[in-house]
Symmetry: C2
Subunit: 306 residues, 2 copies
């Protein structure tokens, strides 16, 4: 029994984005300049467990919050890295007070929603942020609004507009987490303006998110199955899996070891995409593993074992 | 041969809106205070030919533009009415220079897009107006932007966004003609923000438009045929007919004389709606005419004649 070998296609835009590449390079540089360690990092550098382990092995120490950082003795020098998602200004101040040398790796594209959220709040608009309240990027944005006396809401999408209790006289500033789907944001704007006078909306979704989401949509339309690689705690990876699932069967994995032969039985077109925190070697490993799994599918005895 | 008499239902919101009622009352008052006439009106008072004829018979003189108004002799007094759609400030100044007594019937809801368009243009936003360039309301809004050095575009809807040639750095102010469908405006906002940094959008669609469009949508969903009454040059009436056509068979008429028996053959639920310029006596006349036409349908000899 022979079958045509399935085609495996990687989305035209997938894996590390500019902000992730930049922060990983910063981390590598700091580690090489600090051979006697440690280099601290506030939170996991990126939402990819394998990459975090790799950096931990090189001497990076991950702490959950600035409060976990040990106090410094007089004259002692220690470096702390702020990851791409950014932090609240209050956190940065706390690090300064503790005497740490700060290396700020906030993605320049994440500073845009921080800046606009502050600007519109200062102008008296009530602020609506589309995103996940617990996500570090959103926590950073909220931190930039501290001390301002305007109403601030974080909502997941247009389906939650009801709980904003909008009034006809409301003027609403709208921003989105950089990694959320644009279509949802556009719907949110339309839903909000239905009830109020003015919306001021900023396109704070980064280009890499646009490109990856467009690419996976295209890919999923012509594939029998799509594999999305990335941390389960990675917001942008979850969005990719969500989009692919609208068009075809999709599996979200963290690495090649999770792949199962049965996913590819009878599938002719297999697509692969990856979140912004997924290194290319991980994408390549998944591609090789799928090639192996699907070549064995040609042998009927293996087929039956599945 | 007998059939169940069809039900005829009038949309829960239809016909004269607040702005039209207000301007017709103003016109009547001016005419009664000026028994020796004439009272001038810039353009047709409302987009309803029958109503215009009625007022013309009472002594109202309709002129297409202020240039058509006769120059006044010294001491001569003449009244001119500005209709609900509003005019450009330059037109108002020209009337003042000519020495006419101005009665400004601009609908207060039409002054909202005029005001916001000016405000955002002054703040350096490029302005995109959704509407019909030739419509008097849009001409009035454009007149409020005279002398400002920003890019101004009038487009019919989201399908024309391509011709705006938006740049990533663009900050766009968006307003809509008061009588356009909200769904189209919401889509336009989403389409514009896809290509640029910021949109500032105003909900300039009036409540009467919202209500009438909601009502006809509801009505059309449960009717076999919908009759929309209003001037063919009435923008809001054309929008009602457009919406109804998405759900059922729809005929746009100006008055009862246009009705045809064949439209109602075999129809069990007949809906009626009317544009904001259509007086209630006209709606009632159409309802009676349909009742007559459909009662004769019960007689087979009439059926065959149709």
């Amino acid at each position: 029994m022979t079958r045509a070998k399935p085609t495996i296609e990687i989305a035209r835009s997938a894996g590390w984005c500019f902000g992730v590449e930049r922060i990983v390079q910063m981390a590598e540089k700091l580690l090489s300049e600090t051979p006697n360690g440690p280099v601290y990092c506030l939170g996991e550098l990126i939402h990819n467990p394998q990459e975090v382990e790799r950096l931990r092995a090189k001497g990076m120490v991950f702490v959950k919050s600035h409060e976990e950082l040990p106090p410094l003795e007089s004259g002692q020098k220690r470096k702390v890295l702020i990851r791409a998602h950014g932090v609240a200004p209050a956190v940065k101040k706390a690090l300064q007070r503790k005497g740490y040398e700060i290396y700020d790796g906030t993605c320049p594209l994440v500073t845009i929603p921080q800046k606009f959220a502050r600007e519109i709040a200062e102008q008296g608009y009530r602020v609506v942020i589309m995103g996940h309240r617990e996500h570090p990027e959103i926590q950073g944005i909220l931190g930039h609004l501290e001390g301002l006396k305007v109403q601030i809401d974080v909502i997941a999408g247009p389906e939650e507009v009801g709980r904003l209790k909008l009034k006809a006289s409301d003027r609403v500033g709208l921003i989105s987490q950089t990694t959320h789907p644009y279509e949802k944001f556009a719907q949110l704007i339309g839903e909000v303006l239905k009830y109020c006078l003015e919306v001021r909306a900023y396109n704070t979704i980064c280009q890499a998110t646009f490109d990856r989401q467009d690419a996976i949509r295209e890919l999923a339309r012509r594939c029998d199955v799509v594999i999305v690689i990335g941390g389960r705690n990675s917001s942008n990876t979850c969005r990719l899996a969500e989009i692919a699932s609208q068009y075809t069967t999709c599996y979200h994995i963290e690495d090649a070891s999770e792949l199962k032969g049965e996913w590819f039985l009878g599938k002719q077109r297999i697509g692969i995409s990856a979140g912004a925190s997924t290194p290319s070697r991980c994408i390549e490993a998944v591609q090789s593993a799928i090639e192996q799994l699907t070549s064995s599918v040609e042998r009927p005895e293996i087929l039956e074992r599945v």
